[in-house]
Symmetry: C2
């Protein structure tokens, strides 16, 4: 069965309220929006709304009142459902007492204890606001611990938007990345060569748990590569930094490389840690504890109590409900369903990556995302908010039923691709 043009439809997408807000925004915000949430900068389909009014469970609603089953999860932060009742109750209880105060609250200790008990490698934690805070703090800790300068990262891997890691050079200087050394992901020889070129000066290797950058398919880490990174860091006395900003608590609550038996020295968390409340964390091993006390880490809101209360409730709920397993199962239902639909429609299609963070590609899209854009355009009209080139994010607020509804929207999307191309 296909959901064709004869099926009941509500035309969704950017409407008059969204357009009016965009016009106002262009007056008072350069370009109308910045960064990864700009529909224009992200080359999102023409019908995608820029402004949102609300979220609940697995659904978001745009400012024109259209509701979507959401597979972007606010680009990762939403893990166990928009306005998850347990998380929001914890936030409100804390806001009733205090949030930003003259020092931390007991929530900081409780959350640090919870992370130490949940994340396998963690002996301690410190907190911040942004993912970039967490990755840059991790690098600073590694440099302070080793007295060395070089940070080895995979080419095209995104580790934040500060000057050191920003994928765009505008606004930065060459010196900002003077000590960033690149290697190829999953290529141990290239990593070894990069390290050899800077013998005695390697402070850290920073790496994402799987390859999730650029416009190609996602790629799981080669277990031999992960073990090789660990061995190289051990040999050099360098820190292995696992950048879990995008992956944290979606793949494995104990750490995304825990199933491989490979433990990092430092992990950078943010996005999903507090289910949408602004929080970041670095967890680390005892050997790096002293180095943390030797650097100056701070931010006006880094000890805020309410996001830490949200973090506690989120991590507890992820563990108690095995949200990781739920997201994997839901993601498999989604990816398998799309693969079957694509085959039935005779459309070349790849869903790559971990089921909880899948990415789509149409094999006939060569140097373009035309088919992916048509697919997402049509799916949006049918009530599913997807993304044509960035990985998606499952949440445990989805159910087999909502995934079936998403699959009705993707069915229409595949049909549109087949009809148009």
């Amino acid at each position: 069965m296909t959901v064709s043009s004869s099926a009941p439809q509500t035309l969704r997408g950017s409407g008059p309220a969204d357009q009016a807000l965009r016009a106002r925004a262009r007056q008072v915000v350069p370009g109308g929006m910045w960064g990864h949430l700009s529909v224009e900068a992200n080359q999102l389909p023409a019908n995608y709304p820029q402004f949102f009014a609300s979220g609940e469970g697995p659904r978001v609603r745009d400012v024109d009142g259209h509701e979507y089953l959401d597979l972007m999860c606010a680009w990762g932060p939403m893990l166990i459902g928009y306005r998850n009742p347990k998380v929001e109750a914890a936030v409100r209880a804390q806001l009733d007492r205090g949030d930003t105060l003259n020092g931390p609250s007991a929530r900081m200790v409780e959350l640090a204890e919870l992370l130490v008990n949940t994340v396998a490698h963690a002996d301690w934690a410190v907190f911040a606001k942004n993912g970039t805070d967490a990755t840059s703090t991790s690098c600073a800790i590694a440099r302070a611990a080793t007295g060395r300068r070089k940070i080895l990262k995979a080419t095209t891997s995104y580790h934040g938007a500060n000057a050191q890691f920003n994928p765009f050079v505008n606004g930065t200087t060459p010196e900002d990345r003077a000590h960033i050394v690149e290697f190829a992901y999953n290529d141990l020889a290239s990593l070894e060569a990069a390290a050899a070129r800077h013998e005695g000066d390697v402070a850290a290797v920073i790496v994402t748990p799987f390859f999730h950058d650029g416009f190609g398919d996602l790629a799981a880490v080669d277990p031999a590569f992960a073990r090789g990174v660990r061995a190289l860091c051990d040999r050099l006395g360098a820190a292995l930094i696992l950048d879990e900003v995008r992956t944290g608590f979606r793949l494995d609550a104990a750490g995304s490389w825990e199933p491989l038996g490979v433990r990092p020295d430092l992990s950078a968390f943010s996005k999903a840690l507090a289910n949408g409340h602004a929080l970041a964390a670095v967890t680390g091993v005892d050997a790096l504890r002293d180095a943390v006390t030797k650097i100056y880490l701070t931010g006006s809101f880094w000890a805020q109590a309410a996001p830490m209360a949200a973090g506690i409730a989120t991590v507890q709920e992820v563990v108690a409900t095995d949200a990781v397993a739920a997201m994997r199962t839901l993601g498999e239902q989604l990816a398998d369903g799309m693969r079957q639909q694509a085959a039935a429609a005779g459309v070349g299609f790849v869903a790559s990556g971990h089921p909880a963070m899948p990415k789509i590609r149409f094999t006939d899209d060569v140097d373009s995302i035309d088919r992916a854009t048509q697919f997402c355009f049509t799916a949006l009209e049918h009530g599913a908010y997807l993304h044509p080139w960035h990985n998606w994010f499952l949440s445990s607020a989805h159910t087999p039923d909502t995934i079936a509804q998403v699959l009705a929207a993707t069915e229409a999307g595949f049909q549109a691709v087949r009809d148009r191309f």
Copy 2:
């Protein structure tokens, strides 16, 4: 009348609950706490609590249930009272709808419009989370606009904790500050000389509205210096960045240099903008609008709706109640009262700086803060949370009555200094 040892007292300060949390924190957070909120790193008096339970209006309560009239205002963020009813109602109303979503909410546009209408120089705004986000974004905009590299800053002025500006070198590399050039605050000749050394390569001058760094007295900006900075930036085609992270909305809602008639090209706001909710903003002039669209600015939580709702409520309330005038009057009452008490006690004492952000110094404290520490220790026992060497922050939630209560505590503080030294 003096509040002496015969006056009724409640012994306040770090108690068993605080000590127990400190012991737990030392296990799971390196050093037990990081940055400016660490009572140990800040050399705060021995009785100062590390952990806080709640705040209301002008008061904070520690985890042992001791209440203090607070003159640190969470190190600045609290502007119109802890848990200000209007701000908290706006936050809850937004949390009832959504916070971190797939794009911004209408709150972003409303807040940007409000800042453009409130901050005199502002033609646009972009938002982030940390003060450091705002200062580093301002520098990136200036570099992108000019194609130049050098950022001129005053020696010892604090502009954030990222690698470029961090006051401590541990964890950074020399290249991180390769393009930071220093001058002396209020010394136009030194600024001109710094600019001349880097002719053709000055992207921006970043400066705080008044001198508030180091251990000496605060110093107002010399109006001729402020005008000179403006003239130099105009001559060079460099951006004048006013770092309002600490001062914003406490000295003048239209901008802290507005009374001088000197307008910056970019202003960096954070701390008090949303009365304790995590928000930062850069406001700028039209000439820099295009540059913003050419750099990659982003953060997972930078479009969060609830802190923007808090920012709208805060700025509206500051303007509607003339909170700035209230803080000035309350601050004058406090500083004048302390000066009279110090004179009566025969203790050499300076309260420097703007009344809304005063700083104390005991003239006989030479290369030490012994008297200031005793003063704050005793004031804390008497129910006022002060700071021995950092500037304080007034809030409009104080009243003449609460300031009189603070003055009863400072009276005891001066007596203790006189008795001990």
